[in-house]
């Protein structure tokens, strides 16, 4: 009975973790369909390996660890298949040309996709998921110092890619570009 109750609680905790897992997966791979596959595989692995989870420890970190391992092993597999970069990887998997979330984040998703995967993971875990450097390092299986430097490099690179300067936090004026694009060329009647 005790075990069954414990299992029920864990099941509820698993369900409660799904939104975070999906956010993590989407941020990591930038592909909603692939992200949900990653989450599904994570849940199956978590369920069949619940015995290796120690009650009272951080379930979310445990699940994130499983998901990132699934993702990185998938990434390695794809890289072995086609020896090219993230762009081609993403293009191959972008079957329906789906956009992640709202158009508002398109440039951010694109910039994330240009980061080295370990830097992308680092900045998501610490900068978005709210893990401490220590927790993030444990999830990624690296030293804390390595995690800190990955996060810093990722933030710097994202700033560059998004065209963010200290005096211009909103970058190029997207609205201006749109207006310029729809303006008819002079002389066209």
């Amino acid at each position: 009975m005790n075990a069954a109750a414990e299992q029920g609680t864990l099941r509820n905790d698993l369900i409660a973790s799904i939104p975070s897992l999906r956010a993590f997966a989407n941020s990591l791979c930038g592909q909603p369909a692939l992200a949900d596959d990653l989450v599904q595989e994570t849940l199956v692995k978590a369920w069949t390996n619940l015995g290796s989870f120690t009650v009272g420890t951080n379930l979310k970190a445990w699940l994130f660890t499983i998901l990132r391992n699934v993702y990185f092993s998938e990434l390695r597999k794809r890289r072995r298949e086609v020896e090219d970069g993230d762009g081609a990887f993403a293009a191959r998997l972008s079957v329906h040309g789906e956009q992640l979330g709202h158009m508002h984040y398109e440039d951010l998703v694109e910039a994330l996709g240009k980061l080295a995967p370990d830097q992308r993971e680092a900045v998501i875990l610490v900068g978005a998921s709210g893990f401490s450097y220590e927790e993030a390092a444990e999830i990624a299986g690296c030293a804390i110092g390595t995690m800190k430097s990955r996060v810093n490099r990722a933030r710097r690179k994202l700033s560059e890619l998004l065209g963010l300067e200290p005096d211009d936090e909103f970058g190029p004026d997207a609205g201006g570009r749109v207006l310029a694009a729809v303006e008819p060329p002079a002389g066209v009647s």
């Binding site: 369900i15 956010a23 499983i66 700033s159």
Partner: protein, 103 residues
């Protein structure tokens, strides 16, 4: 998931220079010290929080229901060398380690 307002505070505290730690007003002034970093962090956090708040597709609940019916998972370890084997005769793979694929 966590307080979005806590993010700016944490961002300023972890790896920023002393400019922000000195208690300068945030908001618009944040751009002077490390505006680009703060903006990146804010956007990332906004996107992530938006993703977290998306509704969960039914497939995941269905999946867990199926898993529930299909097999009884190993009982979680409550203590080292605990009762992990109970109720999981069909799961010899559980060895106390994370289900990590070997690289």
């Amino acid at each position: 998931m966590r307080d979005p307002k806590g993010f700016a505070g944490r961002g300023a505290g972890d790896a920023r220079g002393p400019e922000q730690a000195a208690g300068k007003p945030r908001g618009l002034d944040v751009r002077f010290a490390s505006g680009a970093d703060a903006a990146v962090s804010r956007r990332l956090k906004e996107m992530y929080d938006g993703l977290v708040s998306e509704p969960v597709p039914d497939r995941f609940l269905e999946l867990l229901n199926q898993l529930d019916k299909a097999e009884t998972p190993a009982v979680p370890t409550s203590a080292p060398g605990g009762t992990a084997a109970a109720g999981s005769p069909g799961n010899p793979a559980v060895d106390g380690s994370l289900p990590v694929e070997k690289s």
